[in-house]
């Protein structure tokens, strides 16, 4: 019996061994290494030199770009995530009623999130918002003469990136659609009998029943928002005046352009703490607004 049990346990570990190897070699060890490196001066060519908390002190007190890029990223997340989720929810509500064309609409709205983070779309965005690009030309057709260089002005550049993020609302929309379809119909029927109008139904039935889905989406999108890289790196290259320089791009520049890998590790760890902290905070508040059906 014990030998058989031992064997069974061994086989279990054998099956999950690819994951354990990957988790230890490519995640745990690198994470610990990076914590260690964050207390050193390291340029990959010469051995790391221990400098204590200096990287963190420099970050907080002497590096204006650290605060700048952190602020830019926060701004981006603060607007792109809620806007994207609102758009996803609104369109999901529109598409939830079955119809001949709903599958077609779903496809069209989903397409941008499949291709949106590619280099090809980044190149397209660059041309669209150029001063002689598609947006200005179409505005001209509507009688609004515009030669704004959307990507070149500090007030507008970040919004083109936010727009690109909102454009990719499709995958969240699909998750909302799946969630909406799971809300039992009898709830709405009962509400109709009680004389509730659609506003009441939306706030008293749809939103609470959908709140776990919204919660899940929010956390997912929050993490993705903080990690945005390609958009800033290709479309705006952080310009103008670093108003679109995302945190991850700055981290990349420090580590691989200026060879300050120790500093880069410190930046990475600060981000882990912020994103982890925000996620934990959301989990703490979920009791107040996320409704879980008890069976």
């Amino acid at each position: 019996m014990t030998i058989k049990k031992k064997r069974e346990q061994l086989v279990g570990y054998l099956f999950i061994s690819p994951f354990i190897i990957g988790f230890v070699c490519f995640i745990s060890i690198p994470m610990l290494l990076s914590l260690g490196f964050s207390f050193t001066k390291y340029d990959i060519l010469s051995p790391p030199k221990f400098i204590g908390l200096e990287n963190y002190i420099t970050m907080f007190t002497q590096d204006p770009l650290f605060w700048k890029t952190f602020g830019v990223t926060m701004f981006y997340v603060l607007f792109s995530v809620p806007l994207r989720l609102l758009m996803a929810l609104a369109v999901a509500l529109l598409l939830v009623r079955p119809g001949k064309l709903s599958a077609f609409y779903r496809t069209v709205f989903y397409l941008p999130s499949i291709i949106g983070s590619s280099v090809a779309i980044a190149i397209l965005w660059k041309r669209m918002f150029a001063s002689n690009g598609m947006i200005n030309a179409l505005l001209g057709e509507l009688g609004i003469q515009s030669s704004v260089a959307w990507l070149g002005r500090s007030g507008t550049a970040i919004w083109t990136l936010i727009l690109l993020a909102v454009w990719q609302f499709g995958s969240s929309m699909l998750i909302f659609l799946a969630g909406l379809k799971q809300i039992p119909r009898y709830l709405y029927e009962a509400a109709t009998v009680d004389g509730a109008n659609w506003i009441a139904k939306f706030f008293k039935i749809t939103l609470p029943m959908l709140s776990p889905t919204i919660f899940f989406n929010l956390i997912n999108q929050l993490i993705n928002g903080f990690m945005a890289f390609t958009q800033s790196f290709i479309i705006t290259e952080g310009k103008p005046q670093n108003t679109t320089l995302f945190y991850v791009v700055y981290m990349y520049q420090n580590s691989f352009k200026y060879n300050k890998l120790g500093y880069g590790c410190a930046l990475a760890w600060f981000m882990v703490l912020v994103v982890g902290g925000l996620t934990a905070l959301l989990f703490l508040t979920q009791k107040r607004w996320v409704y879980y059906e008890t069976e």
Binding site: F19, G22, F23, S34, T107, I114, S118, M134, L174, L261
Partner: protein, 279 residues
């Protein structure tokens, strides 16, 4: 009755127009790939080209640094295919382990897997780079491929969900017939989770195809560039600003994604709806 028909009509007009606005930029790029650069720059308001030209594809295909886009496509296909094979295979094995085997600390490891799902690549890119640099892997495809062979959280999760839906009685019947655990996995479970395997394969392929950051970090010779990285360098101002050729190559780079999207949409939608994978 009439009122209802008008409402349906209004509904379709609103949704259809919005859908048209959403895809317009992509259509504009595809159409732009048949225009001259001059036309793209000076009559950006029009969608259809004055004359359909294939010249952009011929010019663009020549690539840069002595390598044509044919080489870059070959690289992308190689990386994406091998990485996807690794991710799908390892994730189904690990998924089976979590769903069907009993072993100590299972919950701990499952928690680690969920954590790895939440952990973005950007957080570990610097230490991973240091590690791969030590191993002498920088400049090769190994950093892009080997980690994929260690199971991907999302796909493991998907497989676990699927396997849990298969009745355990099936395993037991096979066991009575003398099948070992490996046979149960290979002959019974594996064929039954075809759908989650296909879903993982599609997502994996599309993500690897689109991946830009890892290629940017690890590849340093144009000979080895995948399409994503090649396209970025092709679009840099130093290589000239032939927007027609750029649009042509950008369109081509999206072609595999378009084809997968159109033919495999059912799996994508199911995968997203059941696990909340990001697209």
């Amino acid at each position: 009755m009439k009122k209802k028909r008008i409402r349906t009509l209004v509904y379709h007009i609103v949704v259809f127009s919005f859908a048209a606005v959403m895809v317009y930029p992509v259509l504009w790029m595809i159409m732009g790939s048949f225009k001259t650069s001059n036309e793209i720059l000076n009559s950006a308001q029009s969608l259809l080209p004055e004359k359909f030209l294939l010249q952009n594809y011929i010019t663009g295909w020549q690539g840069f640094a002595g390598y044509s886009f044919g080489a870059f496509f070959k690289n992308s296909i190689f990386i994406s295919t091998v990485a996807t094979l690794g991710a799908v295979l390892s994730s189904s094995v690990v998924g089976f382990g979590f769903a069907r085997c009993r072993f100590p600390m299972k919950n701990f490891w499952f928690g680690c897997m969920l954590l790895s799902m939440m952990l973005p690549f950007q957080v570990i890119m610097i230490p991973q780079y240091i590690l791969f640099n030590r191993l002498g892997w920088v400049g090769t495809y190994l950093p892009l491929i080997i980690p994929q062979f260690c199971a991907q959280g999302f796909f493991v999760f998907l497989n676990v969900q699927f396997i849990k839906g298969i009745p355990v009685e099936l395993d037991e019947a096979a066991r009575i017939d003398g099948a070992g655990i490996f046979q149960i996995f290979g002959l019974i479970i594996l064929p039954l989770i075809k759908s989650s395997i296909v879903t993982s394969a599609i997502f994996s392929f599309m993500w690897r195809w689109d991946d830009f950051l890892a290629a940017l970090l690890y590849l340093n010779q144009p000979k080895k560039y995948p399409v994503s990285l090649a396209l970025k360098l092709f679009s840099d101002p130093t290589s000239g600003s032939d927007w027609g050729a750029m649009f042509a190559m950008a369109t081509l780079s999206l072609l595999p994604i378009f084809i997968i999207f159109m033919t495999m949409q059912r799996y994508l939608v199911e995968g997203i709806a059941s696990t909340g994978i990001k697209g």
